[in-house]
Amino acid sequence: MDVLVENVTQVWGGGSRAEVVALDHLSHRFRSGRFACLLGPSGCGKSTLAQIVGGLESATSGSVRIVDPAAPAVARPLGADSVMVWQTLNLFPWRSVIDNVAFGLEVRGVPPAERYARARTLIASVGLRGFEKHLPGQLSGGMRQRVALARALIMERPILLMDEPFAALDAQTKIVMQEELLRIFEATRKTILFVTHAIEEAILLGDEVVVMTARPGRIKEVIPVDLPRPRSLEMVSSPEFGALFDRVFHLIREEVTAAMRQQDQMAAAS
């Protein structure tokens, strides 16, 4: 599934409150089966873009279309082909691991025997066998992250939207989860939109790094990452990786500086 973003603008506030332009006429084609990383300073609207693509926010103007390259004429409703993994995870705290993972099937009306069987398989595949009956509050951050991933994967939707999913994890757990995600990507070849503010993560995971500007969010540059797959963490020390890192770093530094200046101004104004 291609994700075709055309002239998307998102404006918050208005009326009595000051308008904030989060996204400004942003256009990009996220290609089918590719791993795209959206990289930008905080507040640049990258999470908003992911939510608009997932049909969870509506853009002020512009359009997002999901296009199946095999049947480009068929119009597809937004949200039906994608599933989100949230930064805040948004696991249901009163539901056990298995009932969290099976939620999507439950609301679709899949009978219990079938949905639990499928949930069990996925829970095992993310390494959580034996924790089916635990509540999210009884798990570590990394384990909760795996539950969130399994809950999204069970939907078997071709597009995976990930909003800074590993931002809250400690360094070691983050590495393990990145490798896990790379393995899943190799196995499923989903279209992935991965929002992050970590340059290294974006290069390690992505086929392309979409660098965004500070508010209002525009695309500053799209940098293709042609490191071979399967990727591994050792690549971080290769000269190719280093060259890409330098390039992205220089682009992002200007934007982070700009974003900090904006925040200072907003703090001074309020």
Binding site: G54, L56, M84, N90, F92, P93, W94, E106, L135, P136
Partner: protein, 264 residues
Amino acid sequence: MTRKQGKGAAWFAERVLPIGSVVLFVLVWEVYVRARGIAPIYLPAPSAIAVYLWRMILDGTMEYHLGVTLLRIFAGFAVAAVAGVALGVAMGMSRIVAAVADVWIAALYPLPKISLIPLLIIWLGTGEAYRIVISAVTAFFPIVISTYAGIRQADRGLVKAAQDLGANARQIQLKVVIPAAIPAIFAGLHLGMGVTIILIVAAEMIGGSSQSGMGYLLINAGQVMETEKVFASLVVLAVVGAIVIKLQQWTDRRVAPWAHRDDR
């Protein structure tokens, strides 16, 4: 070694000190009353209160009045809980219900419910109905307000996640919004239980035609200056009230263990 000592000190502070303070208080009270020779009609010694309490338990008066009061408390609380949670949920799910109910709640909530007692006695007499109604009406408000607030403040992230996973509006209400409100509903039920206990005992003091209940026991003993009986009743009320609240907390933990985790 030092850590063990630290733990021992914490254990002493958390477990021994609270009980110790009660024991010390009772001892000081006993010694003070005996030393100063205070008349029991003003302040009976704890030992004298204990003797009266024991006698009242042996002849069955305490069990009878306590049982009657507890039944009334649970009846009033049950009515308030069912009505309060039901209306709170309905308000959370329908803007029209919320708008209409909000006017009534805004007008009636600040009214001290005890001021309704004369009217209720005119309408209902001084029987069981009046006591149940006055306590249920009072407990209803904190329950409905907490329930409504809990439903309105349901985590937007959870709602969006459910929507993303394909849940429709009705499924979101039933499977996300209402469960997410359970901690707030429990908070409302705790407040409701507290005021039910207060109102039932107060109502038993006024218009005690049924001649029963802890409130009747208290007011009756007070009128004939049996101060030991007054204190014995107060002790029972305090202990039973604490037990009821603890039971409620225990039920909460059983029903909604996720709501009490600190590490969520």
